[in-house]
């Protein structure tokens, strides 16, 4: 043990003696480790989050368009809807025996960027959400707030608020003449419902009664195609033209619209035929959350893999840096190390001193990398928290991280093995004895 502590202090002295190379190797290793850690943390949380948000939803029915957009807007509440579908058409489809449960969604307004979702209490069941205060809505313009929405919007029971057209804070026109009253607040669930404001579909229709209802075609052409109101500011392209302007000509009742239905199948077999049935309709499409989520991760996966590959290359470079550093240090210090032997040190001291330098670089790089990775994930999480869409952060530990830590340390160890072996072979007392 005395020799061990001698080796440690020598290794530290050598690392300090060569600060620049030491810092460079630690930095390189920590950047590699940090990048991978951050990716793993973010992906794991996104995956978990999406799994939780889409649990219990077999299929989503909505207006024709991009199926992924439909899923993103109706299940995860991040994108704007593809448009609206006529209530009558939808009700016809969900009457099919293949459907066990169909939860309606009417989107279009928001309060302080929290989406107002016209639905029925079944939506709460999807996430197992319970009221922490108050009661469920039973009249139009009564609202139940998700836990985060209530906290962050600063609303409590009995408060009233006006919804705003669109899904972003910047959204336009406020419905001052139709104010909602908070009648209930939900307990936190960790799912997307925490960030939603729930009300009846009828409320949404009522608010939009000055034109064709729901989040549908607006009566006033100059407000134009803002039927989904969602994100005028950033999704210029795709939400404006879905539900046609011709809705203006319909009388109000037949023009009642919903944005989407969340479907639970009666039997797993329904997955075979029911989506086809929906897609054969002229105005509606069916999208599977599982399928679209998988597709999303596939798309994202390419970028993630590229980043991971880059990070692995950084780690390999760090290992190579450690290896080269130790090898060239060996050339400089072979006499030093031989001197240790002359002074009475056993070979273990020479080997340990070399190995420990590599391992210390590894440990420091990993510690710094863990810090960087978690800070990075937290930073990304904060950035997203600002947009109040997904709750992620760096204050978690994922089991994959052990693997990353182990491989980084393993790399550092491997990189120092050959130099240590050479030190053992070459730094013998005879080296100094010979002239």
């Amino acid at each position: 043990m005395k020799h061990f502590s001698t080796s440690i202090s020598l290794a530290v002295a050598y690392l300090r003696d060569n600060r620049l190379a030491t810092a460079l190797n630690i930095l390189l290793l920590s950047l590699g480790v940090g990048t991978i850690i951050a990716l793993v943390l973010l992906l794991a949380q996104a995956e978990e989050r999406m799994e939780r948000d889409s649990a219990g939803i077999d299929l989503v029915i909505g207006a024709k368009g991009s199926p992924m957009q439909l899923i993103l807007s109706s299940v995860f509440h991040v994108d704007v809807p593809t448009g609206n579908v006529r209530l009558g058409d939808a009700q016809q489809i969900i009457a099919e025996p293949a459907v066990k449960r169909a939860v309606p969604l009417a989107l279009g307004d928001s309060i302080r960027s929290f989406r107002i979702v016209g639905t029925n209490p079944d939506y709460m069941d999807l996430y197992g959400a319970k009221l922490s205060a108050g009661r469920i809505w039973d009249k139009p313009l009564e609202a139940v707030l998700g836990a985060d929405a209530a906290r962050l919007a600063g609303l409590k029971l009995g408060d009233s608020f006006a919804g705003t057209h669109g899904l972003s804070e910047a959204g336009g026109h406020a419905h001052e003449d139709h104010k909602y009253v908070v009648v209930g607040v939900l307990a936190p669930t960790g799912a997307v419902i925490d960030r939603l404001v729930l009300t009846s579909v009828a409320s949404v229709w009522k608010v939009h009664d000055h034109g064709p209802p729901a989040a549908s075609a607006n009566a006033e052409p100059k407000k134009g195609s803002a039927k989904n109101h969602a994100g005028h500011d950033h999704h210029e392209g795709h939400d404006h033209d879905h539900a046609g302007h011709d809705h203006d000509s319909h009388d109000h009742d037949s023009a009642k619209e919903v944005t989407a239905y969340l479907i639970q199948y009666a039997t797993p077999l329904a997955a075979v035929s029911f989506p086809r049935l929906v897609n054969s309709s002229s105005t509606m499409q069916a999208a599977s959350p599982a399928l679209e989520t998988a597709r999303l991760f596939q798309l994202v996966g390419v970028g993630v893999d590229a980043l991971k590959g880059f990070a692995v290359i950084m780690m390999l470079c760090a290992a190579l840096g450690i290896f080269i550093g130790l090898m060239s240090a060996l050339d400089e210090r072979r006499a030093d190390l031989a001197l240790l032997r002359v002074l009475g040190a056993p070979p273990a001291v020479v080997v340990l001193t070399t190995l420990l330098q590599g391992l210390m670089l590894g440990v420091l790089g990993v510690i710094l990398g863990l810090a960087l990775g978690h800070l990075g994930a937290e930073w990304v999480g904060q950035a997203y928290a600002a947009s109040q869409r997904v709750a992620i952060g760096g204050r978690i530990w994922v089991s994959e991280e052990w693997l990353i830590v182990a491989s980084a340390l393993g790399l550092a160890f491997l990189a120092s093995l050959v130099p240590a072996w050479r030190a053992y072979r070459e730094a013998t007392p005879e080296l100094l004895a010979r002239r």
Binding site: A13, D17, D336, L432
Partner: protein, 245 residues
């Protein structure tokens, strides 16, 4: 196979001189071989405790090999080497490491101070590798005696040549060895510095109760030694060296 050990001023005196001092180093019929090939036979030598000795001879005559054998740096094929009561031939490699750390202080021509460590850490390292932490009081006395007490925090590269040599001497003495071996300590120095260095070595060895053995081809310093072993012939052959005065 004779060894000439001659009192100062009478180089022709014979070797078999009995001393009152107990034997510190005793070699008998030593032969060893080099890793790179070639064998060598070494003269029989006796050195009493406190008997500072000069091994004088041209380069390649085997002085360095002799130093290495005594230091346990070189294994022997046949013969007997006893240093401070320890028979080196029987020691395992790790036992020789331990023996060397405790019994021997080495001053090499190239000083081999560790550049990454301060002067003080260089000294402490030598103590730790020999198995004990340096005694602070002794360290203080040692460094003050060598006039390097104010240089302890410096790095070797911040030292002058003379200072560095004094640090090397301090390191050789830090474990209070019975035997200090110096291999060509003066050959790279000019006359004045060579004089000063050898005087310092002798003085320090005496002061700390160690016996100094210097191997050199540098005849300038021989007058400092009463006890000399003189090699004349390169001993690279397998034949026994013939000692000549």
């Amino acid at each position: 196979m004779t060894v000439i050990s001659s009192p100062a001023g009478s180089p022709h005196a014979t070797a078999e001189r009995q001393t009152d001092a107990p034997q510190l180093v005793h070699t008998l019929g030593v032969r060893c071989h080099y890793v790179q090939g070639g064998a060598i036979a070494l003269p029989d030598v006796r050195i009493g405790a406190g008997e500072h000795t000069l091994l004088l001879g041209p380069s390649g005559c085997g002085k360095t090999t002799f130093i290495n054998v005594i230091a346990g740096l070189q294994t022997i094929d046949t013969g007997e080497v006893v240093v401070a009561g320890t028979a080196l031939a029987n020691l395992s490699a790790s036992a020789r490491d331990g023996y060397r750390g405790k019994t021997i202080g080495l001053v090499m021509q190239r000083l081999h101070l560790i550049a990454a460590l301060s002067v003080e850490d260089n000294l402490r390292l030598a103590a730790r590798l020999a198995g004990a932490d340096a005694d602070p009081a002794y360290l203080k006395k040692l460094t003050e005696g060598l006039n390097i007490a104010d240089k302890l925090a410096r790095r070797p590269r911040q030292l002058s040549q003379g200072e560095a040599q004094r640090v090397a001497i301090a390191r050789a003495l830090v474990n209070r060895p019975q035997l200090v071996l110096a291999d060509e300590p003066t050959s790279a120095l000019d006359d004045d510095n060579a004089e000063a260095a050898i005087a310092l070595l002798l003085q320090q060895a005496t002061a700390h109760g160690a016996t100094l053995v210097v191997a050199t081809h540098d005849a300038r310093i021989q007058r400092h030694f009463a006890h000399r072993v003189v090699w004349s012939k390169p001993a690279a052959t397998a034949d026994a060296s013939r000692a000549v005065s």
